[in-house]
Symmetry: C2
Subunit: 390 residues, 2 copies
């Protein structure tokens, strides 16, 4: 068995390895990226299955078009038009989770040696998916507002495949890019004719319900938009989508056909059956409320238990808080002790393609009860203080 | 937008293009590769959804392990052990249709310039999936028994990624490789330490119910086995699997994680819920009976309407008949006229990686009623005879 070069370099996600360790029920885990199962509308899913298999049983489980189930594509296009983006259903490709959109973009646009720009830190799963196309990853420096537009303009070259970013409540940092910075980034992209890949799994999870214009709505000719139903319905359905300029969508469809023919007809139809009559308008506010509460519990616990030299953001949405520990604390080393103390998180160093900051960590609060959040953060606080004042 | 080299060479499947033309209800289409919707156990699927969403609702739609739903992996391993293959659940990876297994194998084992051996003709979708890894395709010559083992031994070199073949009721030819030829092929593979990729979507569709030993059961160390539930349950669930030597399975799991995290938890659990208590033992014989009847109707019609100089096989299972027209008839040209006469098929030339035989065609009979099979073959017969005796 002679592995390909890229397969030799493949590794399993650090996060998934940590998750295996922390699967025991007595571990308080802030390491996951899973949505809270409390938010899954399982009764609506059951009713949707029932209707589909009563009214249109064969088509619901027969092969379907690679592009996706037409009414779902139309629904997605209409949603984005409502949000001010000038897009048509022909630009929408339904994918097997938004993760697959990254794999397809890698196949269509990345190539060994060609630069691909990413945030620093960035979503690990995107790096994994794109790595199979062996691009040269280049990190764009961030300030607290988001990626630096001047740096973006400096780093973009004619062979750059694209700049990958998560404007809303980023994984791992929870950071939201504000309206002015969005426009500056789009101006820099347009000036260099650079494609931006806007990954938006968390955009609907704004705690206030307010939302900012998508990059797609600002300049659809320079933006590929990726999103999914994983965080607002249920991730185990694996229904995501990508919206791209039409010529690129056609290539992505060809790559998708080779990859898995199409996303399951059945799960696509379930999603459409649930969302078509406005269900999300009542459902998503409940998720926002739950996550906002838990976020506040964690922020309060961090203020109580972490030393004054630690810093963290106050997310306005999403699932993550990003902590800067005192600079000489190595979060990977801390994790070893944390696991023994039955609490887990993801060391921030996993999220960098270069120059990792070892004293950072990502905390997820959405699947943990308020009592356990308090207890878990207290344990972390003790471990950190032991390291500061041994 | 700068496309990657491989994306520039991507094209859409010829078959899917033909299918678009033939979607009008008045066309008699022998072009499809779809199973008959009559065979979908939609009432069982409905009941399974209901049980899953009542008994274990959250886990059924939450993220799951990349490897697949453990009870389904165990069921698949037990099935293959019952068929004489010494395999464990750790070797099984559940995929989003068996098509995805081909994409993952390409990523793990193929590389620009490295040879990949295929049958001649072979399954077009496999060529599409593997093409993204830019291998050098090499066709192994066939006789009526299957690929020539001496030719296989001659063509295999140390850098060959694998030999891809469909031993049971091949797509496109419907050919079954007999027991002696299987052993000869495995001997040739073992002698060269060559990996064989055994794609087996149709193995259960033997009209007599008899089955031959899988290549996997003959030599699990030299075989990757791919199969799916698409032809025995329903393709729109997109549940397939790959069984490989453990070290390779681990690499395929990493590639799968990057590709789509995992196959939908929900469709995997539906499949498991249906198959776990022996449902297929009663269900699959009904599919065999339907397909055997329709195959016979088409064979009778071919004998009645095609000229004596045309030849075709008598399949013992599966979904396809392969026709050799008189040598000077070009099936692609014939198709243009056939579509006007409201009958369609797939020209055989699409299925070759080199030296296409232009006078061949693939006919699928499983979704067409007996009356329409008779009428469609009669139309084809007239068109062919017009070309022979203009």
């Amino acid at each position: 068995m002679l592995l390909s070069r890229r397969a030799q370099r493949l590794t399993s996600s650090v996060i998934r390895e940590i998750l295996k360790v922390t699967e025991q029920p007595d571990v308080i885990s802030f390491a996951g990226g899973l949505p809270s199962p409390q938010t899954f509308p399982t009764e609506h899913i059951r009713a949707a299955c029932d209707r589909l298999l009563t009214n249109d049983p064969s088509a619901s489980v027969q092969y379907g078009p690679t592009e996706g189930y037409t009414p779902l594509r139309e629904w997605i296009a209409a949603l984005h038009r409502d949000r001010g983006a000038d897009v048509s259903a022909e630009q929408v490709l339904v994918t097997t989770g938004s993760q697959q959109a990254l794999d397809l973009l890698g196949k269509a646009l990345c190539e060994p040696g060609r630069p691909t720009l990413v945030e620093s830190p960035t979503y690990l799963g995107a790096v994994q998916a794109l790595s199979l196309s062996e691009p040269e990853f280049v990190a764009v420096a961030n300030d607290s507002e988001g990626p630096d537009p001047a740096e973006l303009a400096r780093l973009a070259v004619p062979t750059t495949s694209f700049f990958y970013l998560i404007p809303n409540f980023q994984n791992p940092t929870g950071r939201l890019i504000g309206p002015a910075r969005r426009k500056e980034l789009m101006r820099a992209a347009a000036a260099r004719d650079l494609l931006l890949v806007e990954d938006d799994p968390y955009g609907q999870l704004s705690y206030s319900g307010a939302s900012l214009p998508s990059l797609l709505s600002l300049d659809p000719g320079h933006v590929v938009h990726i999103s999914s139903f994983s965080k607002i319905l249920a991730p185990g359905l694996r229904v995501g989508y990508v919206i791209a300029p039409e010529a690129l969508t056609r290539k992505l469809v060809q790559a998708k056909q080779a990859a898995d023919l199409h996303t399951p007809s059945f799960t696509q139809r379930i999603v459409h059956e649930i969302v078509k009559d406005g269900f999300l308008d009542q459902h998503v506010p409940k998720i926002r409320e739950l996550y906002a509460q838990r976020c506040q519990v964690m922020l309060d616990a961090l203020a109580r238990h972490l030393p004054a030299s630690a810093q963290w953001n106050r997310p306005q949405g999403g699932m993550f808080i990003w902590v800067h520990l005192p600079p000489h604390i190595d979060a990977e080393e801390l994790l070893q002790h944390a696991v023994k103390a039955k609490v887990a998180f993801v060391p921030g160093s996993s999220f960098y393609v270069s120059n990792p900051v070892a004293s950072t960590m990502r905390l997820s609060f959405v699947t943990v009860s308020p009592e356990k959040i308090e207890e878990g953060v207290a344990r972390l606080g003790r471990l950190i203080k032991e390291r500061l004042f041994p």
